[in-house]
C-alpha cells in the first residue's frame, strides 16, 4: 500500500497552480493574496557539506528560530490562508531542536507539512513522531554508492548506510500504519555525477520509496557553482535508463523540463513569488532563496524572529518587493540565478498573463500534494 492511491497523480515535474484558481483570480484582481506554499528552513546549519549546495550562496544574518517563533509563524500562516509548508530551503531543518514540534503544530493547525532532508538524524523514534503529520518526506541522496556518497555529500561513508536504514524505516512505518505520507528520494544531478544515476535508481528499487526524482542543479546568476548545463546532454541515456527502472510502486522521475531548459527562463517578470515564498533558516523572509544573500538586501522583507509573519505579509514593504518583481523594472532573465523553485509557477502565470494559455479549472481528481504548488 502506498500513499499515492490510484486516483491521485503525483506531479513532480510541473506545477499545481491551476488547482488554485481562486487565488490566481484574486491575484489578477490586484488583491493581496496569501502564499499557497511557503518553503523554509528552521536553521541555516547543516550536518552535511554537499558539493553542489546552493546554501553557500545564501548567507545572511543568522538568527535563531525558537519554538515560540515557529509556533507564532505557523499560527499566522493558518490565519492568513497559507496551505502548505515545506521545510527544505537553505538548512537541514531536522537538526533544529524545534523540528518535530513544528511539524506537529503545523499539522494540528491544518497546514500540510513536508520535509526535504539528508535523512541522517531521522532515527526510527523520530520518524514515528513526525511521519503521521507529513504530506511528504524527501531524502536528498545524490549517489547510490557509499564512497561516492561520502565524496559528493561531504560526509563519512558510514552515514550512507545510516541514511539507507532510515529510508527503510520510513517505508516500514508508512506501510505498518498505512500513512498517507509520500516518501521520496532526490538526486541533485551534476554532469559529473553521471556514474551514480543508475546505482541510485537501483538502490531505490531495493529501498522501495515511493519515488526517486532526478533534478538539475541551480546556479547563481553569475554561475558561481559552475554548473555546466550543456553537460547534461551526455546523461540523457542514463536518465532514461533510470526512468525505465520504475515499477507500480516506485517511480523514477526525471525533471526533464528543467534539465532541458538549460538554466534559461522564458519569462522576465516573476509572478510566482506571492504564491510561493521562501524563508531562510535565519528567519529572513524573502521572495525566494536565490535572494537570501545580503547582496540582495533590497529584496529582504523582514524576519520572523523579530516581527510576526502576519504583519510582515500585510506590510507595504512585502507588497513593494513583490510588485518590483512583477514590474517591467525587473528582468528574471538577467537578474536571477537559474531555475528557481518558483520557475514552473512563473512560467505558467507568465504565459497566462501574456494570453498564451488560459488557466481553467483542471479536470479529474486533484493531484497529490496539492498544497505544494
Amino acid at each position: 500500500m502506498t500513499g499515492m492511491t490510484d486516483h491521485t497523480q503525483l506531479i513532480l515535474d510541473g506545477t499545481k497552480i491551476g488547482w488554485h484558481l481562486d487565488r490566481v483570480h484574486a491575484w489578477e484582481r490586484g488583491e493581496r493574496i496569501a502564499p499557497i506554499t511557503i518553503d523554509m528552513a528552521l536553521t541555516r546549519a547543516c550536518n552535511f557539506a554537499c558539493e553542489y549546495c546552493y546554501a553557500m550562496l545564501q548567507e545572511n544574518d543568522r538568527k535563531v528560530i525558537t519554538r515560540d517563533v515557529i509556533f507564532d509563524f505557523l499560527e499566522d500562516c493558518a490565519e492568513i490562508g497559507v496551505k502548505g509548508i515545506s521545510f527544505v530551503s537553505d538548512g537541514e531543518s531536522t537538526i533544529s531542536p524545534v523540528f518535530a514540534d513544528a511539524i506537529r503544530r503545523g499539522s494540528e493547525l491544518g497546514l500540510s507539512m513536508a520535509v526535504g532532508t539528508n535523512g541522517l538524524a531521522l532515527t526510527k523514534m523520530r520518524l514515528e513522531e513526525i511521519l503521521p503529520h507529513l504530506t511528504y518526506l524527501r531524502v536528498n541522496i545524490s549517489a547510490g554508492e557509499r564512497d561516492r556518497y561520502a565524496q559528493i555529500m561531504g560526509v563519512k561513508p558510514e552515514w550512507f548506510d545510516r541514511v539507507c536504514q532510515n529510508i527503510r524505516d520510513m517505508m516500514e512505518i508508512k506501510r505498518r500504519d498505512d500513512l498517507p505520507v509520500t516518501v521520496g528520494m532526490q538526486m541533485v544531478v551534476m554532469p559529473s555525477y553521471g556514474d551514480q544515476i543508475l546505482p541510485l535508481a537501483r538502490l531505490g528499487q531495493s529501498l522501495r520509496p515511493d519515488y526517486l526524482v532526478l533534478k538539475h542543479c541551480s546556479d547563481s546568476e553569475d554561475g558561481e557553482l559552475g554548473v555546466d548545463y550543456d553537460g547534461y546532454d551526455s546523461l540523457y541515456d542514463k536518465l532514461r535508463a533510470a526512468e525505465a527502472l520504475s515499477d507500480d510502486e516506485y517511480k523514477v522521475v526525471v525533471k526533464w523540463s528543467k534539465i532541458e531548459a538549460r538554466g534559461k527562463r522564458s519569462y522576465q517578470r516573476c509572478y510566482g513569488a506571492p504564491f510561493m515564498i521562501q524563508l531562510s533558516g535565519s528567519g529572513l523572509v524573502a521572495p525566494c532563496g536565490m535572494l537570501f544573500n545580503e547582496r540582495y538586501k533590497k529584496f529582504h522583507i523582514g524576519n520572523i524572529c523579530e516581527t510576526r509573519f502576519r504583519d510582515i505579509w500585510a506590510s507595504d514593504r512585502y507588497w513593494d518587493v513583490m510588485n518590483l518583481l512583477a514590474s517591467p523594472e525587473f528582468n528574471a532573465q538577467k537578474m536571477c540565478g537559474s531555475l528557481c523553485l518558483q520557475h514552473k509557477v512563473n512560467e505558467t502565470l507568465d504565459a497566462h498573463a501574456k494570453g498564451l494559455v488560459q488557466l481553467t479549472t483542471p479536470r479529474g481528481a486533484a493531484p497529490a500534494h496539492i498544497d505544494f504548488v
Partner: protein, 392 residues
C-alpha cells in the same frame, strides 16, 4: 566541570558527557557553523536536542543507540535537573538499556548500559496550547475601489499630458523591407511598420482611441522595440510610465495592466492582434522574448571615471538626505555594465534596512539610468570546507 564525587561513581563508560555543555555547544553551532555541523561528541552525530530537557535526553539516548554505542553516561547540571523529575528520567532511560541515576550535590549522573533502540511507543507528546484563537480562511484583503468608468487617479495626470501632445495619431505607410500592419479593436486602430529582418517596430500610430493619451504613450513606447516584446511587455511598461508615482499603486496587491485599470485593455488587445497578424504574414515563430533595451546612450557613452562621478553625486545627495556620514555609501564595482555593487556603512544600513537599499536604487535609476541595478557586497559562506569545494 563534573563534580568530583560523580567521577568516582563511573564504572563502564570511559567518558561522561556534560549535557549542559553539549546543549550550549549545539545551540552555538546552529548559528556559528554552516556546513558539517554536528554535536561535539562523536557518538552523538544523530542527536538533536530539544528545548524540553526530557525530550532532549530521550533523543540523546536514542541517537547513541542508533549510532551503535554500547553505553553512555551523562551528567545533568542543576539548571537541567531543576525542570526534571528523576523517576521519569530514569524511566525513559530504562527504555534504552540498563539505567542508573546517581544524585550528586548539584547534579545527576545518568548511565545507560547495554544500549538498544527503544521499542516504539506512541509518541504523541502534546504541543503546548497557545492562547490566541486562530481564524481560518482569511486569504485576501480587498483591492482599493475606484468609481466605475473613471480612470484611476494614479494615471489621470500623465494621460492628460499625453493627450495634450498627440503625435502618433493617423495611419502609416511602409518603405521597402518594412511590413505594414493595421489592426482594429472596438473601432480603434493600431498601425505598425515593422522591419522584417529585425522584427523591430519602426513606427506606430493609432486612430479613434477611447483614451488618446494612453494610445499616444503606447505608440511612443513601442517604437524601436521588437514586436514580440511589445506584445509581451509593452502594456506593462505603459502602465508604469503613466503611473504618476511608482509607489502610488492602483491596487493593494500586484499591479498588472489587467488589475490596474480597464484603460489598458485596448492597447493590449491591439498589440496582440498585431503580433498575430505579423506571425500570419511572415511566419514569425519566436515565442520567447529576451529583449532588454539595456542602459540608454548617455550611460553607455560614459567613461568609467565619469560613471563613478555620476554615481558618487547621487550617493552623496542620498546619504546627506538620510543624515549619514559623508562616504557612508561606497561604490565597490560595476558589474555587467549596469550592476552597481555598493558597500553601506553599518549605521546607515541598520537605520534604514533593506528599504534604504531599495530607495537608493530608485534614486540612481531616476537620476542616471532606469536600467541600473544595485546589489550589496556578497557575504560568503563562512565554512572553509564548503568554500574550498567550489571554484572561488
Amino acid at each position: 566541570m563534573l563534580e568530583p564525587a560523580l567521577h568516582h561513581t563511573l564504572v563502564a563508560p570511559s567518558e561522561v558527557l556534560d549535557y549542559e555543555q553539549l546543549y550550549a555547544d549545539y545551540q552555538t553551532g546552529l548559528v556559528d557553523r554552516l556546513r558539517g555541523f554536528g554535536a561535539a561528541a562523536e557518538c552523538l552525530s544523530l542527536w538533536v536536542p530539544d528545548e524540553d530537557p526530557a525530550t532532549s535526553l530521550r533523543n540523546l539516548w536514542d541517537a547513541a543507540a542508533a549510532a551503535g554505542e554500547r553505553d553512555i553516561a551523562v551528567y545533568l547540571g542543576p539548571t537541567t535537573t531543576a525542570s526534571l523529575d528523576g523517576d521519569e528520567v530514569l524511566g525513559t532511560a530504562a527504555r534504552f538499556g540498563v539505567a542508573t541515576l546517581t544524585h550528586g550535590r548539584t547534579g545527576w549522573l545518568v548511565e545507560v548500559q547495554e544500549l538498544r533502540a527503544a521499542a516504539p511507543v506512541a509518541e504523541r507528546r502534546a504541543v503546548a496550547p497557545r492562547a490566541r484563537a486562530i481564524v481560518h480562511g482569511v486569504t485576501t484583503t480587498p483591492a482599493i475601489e475606484t468609481s466605475a468608468g473613471a480612470i484611476h487617479p494614479a494615471y489621470v495626470d500623465a494621460i492628460a499630458r499625453a493627450t495634450a501632445d498627440v503625435q502618433h495619431d493617423g495611419v502609416l505607410s511602409a518603405d521597402a523591407g518594412e511590413l505594414m500592419l493595421r489592426v482594429e479593436d472596438h473601432g480603434s486602430t493600431l498601425s505598425l511598420v515593422v522591419d522584417r529582418e529585425t522584427h523591430v517596430i519602426r513606427r506606430a500610430a493609432f486612430t479613434d482611441a477611447p483614451h488618446e493619451g494612453v494610445m499616444e504613450r503606447f505608440c511612443a513606447l513601442v517604437e524601436g522595440v521588437p514586436i514580440l516584446d511589445a506584445a509581451d511587455h509593452g502594456v506593462a511598461r505603459l502602465e508604469l510610465s503613466l503611473r504618476e508615482h511608482r509607489a502610488h499603486r492602483p491596487v493593494a496587491g500586484i499591479v498588472t495592466p489587467r488589475s490596474a485599470d480597464p484603460c489598458f485593455a485596448r492597447p493590449q488587445a491591439l498589440i496582440r492582434a498585431a503580433l498575430a497578424d505579423y506571425r500570419a504574414q511572415t511566419g514569425f515563430a519566436d515565442w520567447i522574448s529576451t529583449h532588454d533595451a539595456g542602459p540608454a546612450a548617455p550611460w553607455r557613452a560614459m567613461s568609467p571615471a565619469d560613471r563613478e562621478a555620476a554615481v558618487r553625486t547621487v550617493l552623496d545627495t542620498f546619504v546627506a538626505a538620510h543624515d549619514g556620514r559623508p562616504g557612508a555609501v561606497e561604490l565597490v564595482a560595476v558589474e555587467i555594465d549596469v550592476r552597481l555593487v555598493l558597500r553601506l556603512d553599518e549605521a546607515l544600513l541598520s537605520d534604514g534596512g533593506p528599504r534604504l537599499v531599495f530607495e537608493l536604487e530608485q534614486a540612481l535609476r531616476d537620476a542616471i539610468d532606469p536600467r541600473l541595478e544595485v546589489v550589496l557586497e556578497e557575504i560568503r559562506d563562512r565554512n572553509r570546507k564548503r568554500r574550498l569545494a567550489v571554484v572561488e
